[in-house]
Symmetry: C2
Subunit: 344 residues, 2 copies
């Protein structure tokens, strides 16, 4: 059973993951070999993953068999496990609880070699729709307070399998960084009676220095205080505190926007490793109207070193204005055309 | 001029570093070559670094010439620069100020091939003493609120030169992570009227499950809620809020303790990349008696991925109790003996 432990000074929770238990010797680097024929996420290998939680499938195809276009499974090496009670308890001055939660993998495509930039907008829309479906299902579980959806692309960004996938972790507490964002936006709202993210969007559109692209219902931009070079944010222009407020028709627009942004980063930085994270309001009856959902994309270009770990203070060697100008100049159509030619 | 920018939602400051300005193309990885004969930190190459701020030298040797055993210089590519005024100002809803601060490098040894584990305890004591001297000097500058001292070892941990060195960054604001530690320990103190770190030490010594070694005036241990495998903390048993409270004679003990801990990590994890960070109280007239200085050592063994970035919630695959047991079992004398043989 994994364990949740709380840092007694700053209150940050940590998952001590026994399911992923690693002996000291296992940290000595071993070069990895990758073979598509052995990929557990490829069609025909459904039996090498846990059974599917849901899938989008061709009519008449059987669960856990080929015929799917998207597949959601439980993580084979879960950070948190679904069965059990929390049993929150003290241990002297410390706090711990059982590592209860959900940890799922969204296999985005049956094509081993397709990254998100190679997928059709329809397929990306389905991925975004699957996020929604899993969130709606999991928020019925009263043990969960937050659902974090994220994607690791590339080994340097923490992806252990290259077949394109996203992950979902439902946690029994609201994570610290989410609390900080909620707290910051709540304080602003109390003071100004306006959503801080709406004000940011207004200022960004007005200054037009950090906007990468103004889509219809969304913008992508480089945040004013970006921690990392080419850190990019995608946010709906209309005020929505939850990802679940997106209208059905807007999913296609959001998918185009995400694809466009990822293509720009791919070309600008030569297929960089990256993480993206969906920030939405927690599961709760409380109103979080001061919050505004968004997607944060972090290319992994610099190393996080001692100063950053110690201070929480980041050194970003590329001005967001320069990164935005560079990304605006990328010819996305050229990439799409070449990709279309390749697959013909 | 570098710029400090504040995240409007969570209040985290970021350094937008123009001196280190990097174009998008410069992020495409280029394999690095290293040659000791070209190392700017080696004796004889003093003219390829900025002039020294201080040095420990053989009697009669000239500044910025060979003859030193330790040398402190300004960073050639500083994240923050020393000359100028802060000019804190709004930019619409955002906050910015000039990137004023000090960024120094402590070259720990003239020997290119000596890591801290290869150095004599006397030499490490001198490094720790140099930290103290630089802190005392810099805290006279009223623009500075905090002095962060840290070390990056290995390329994966952010070291761009392999010659053993530490760094110091003095900042005009108290960094967020430092504030969190201060705030957490202050709240505990108000509630319990005891230092939380003193209570942690008491519990760790009592349980004796996570202690790596009990030195005389210090202990090294694996924190209960370690974020990373083999995260290790060195802390004085006696209550001291500031690093500057260490008695002169204790510097040798601290140096032995640091060396012993680094040797254990070196052997257990086959020379892992790591960061260490000195956490001490801020520069201020205010009493910070609730705080307790310590050194945090973080081996770089796992990748920080989307979940961690999004949630601030870490997944640690090695229980601190297992890591401590493993480190306790290391034969430090054996390493010392082999090292002595090598250098004969």
């Amino acid at each position: 059973m994994p364990e949740l432990r709380k840092d007694p000074v700053i209150g940050r929770w940590v998952i001590i993951s026994t399911e992923r238990g690693r002996k000291p010797s296992s940290f000595i680097p071993v070069p990895k070999r990758r073979e598509a024929s052995l990929c557990p996420f490829c069609p025909g290998h459904e039996d090498s993953t846990p059974p599917e939680v849901m899938a989008y499938r061709a009519p008449g195809s059987e669960p856990n068999m080929p015929g799917w276009s998207l597949r959601v499974i439980s993580n084979k090496y879960p950070a948190l496990i679904i069965e059990g009670a929390l049993n929150r308890e003290p241990k002297g001055i410390y706090d711990r609880m059982n590592g209860i939660g959900a940890h799922e993998v969204i296999i985005e495509t049956p094509e081993h070699a397709h990254d998100m930039v190679d997928m059709k907008v329809d397929e990306i829309r389905d991925v975004l729709w699957a996020y929604r479906e899993r969130m709606i299902d999991l928020q019925r579980d009263i043990r969960f307070k937050y659902i974090q959806i994220f994607k690791n692309h590339g080994e340097e960004a923490g992806a252990s399998l290259e077949h394109s996938h996203s992950q979902l972790i439902a946690t029994p507490i609201i994570p610290k960084r989410v609390l900080e964002k909620l707290e910051g936006s709540r304080r602003y709202f109390e003071f100004k009676e306006r959503c801080i993210y709406c004000d940011i969007i207004r200022q960004e559109l007005g200054e037009n220095e950090r906007i990468v692209k103004d889509y219809d219902a969304y913008i992508s931009f480089e945040p004013f205080a970006s921690r990392f070079p080419f850190e990019t944010c995608i946010i709906p222009k209309a005020h929505q505190s939850s990802y679940l407020e997106i209208s059905k028709s807007d999913f296609y627009v959001l998918a185009s926007c995400l694809k466009d942004t990822l293509i720009r980063l791919r070309i600008a930085l030569n297929n960089p490793p990256f993480n993206y994270i969906l920030h939405t309001r927690p599961i709760s009856n409380e109103s979080h109207d001061y919050f505004h959902w968004h997607i944060e994309i972090i290319p992994k270009l610099t190393k996080v070193a001692g100063f950053e770990w110690g201070s929480g203070f980041y050194i970003n060697p590329t001005a967001p204005e320069d990164a935005a100008a560079f990304l605006r100049g990328i010819d996305v159509n050229e990439f799409e055309k070449m990709n279309a030619k390749k697959s013909n």
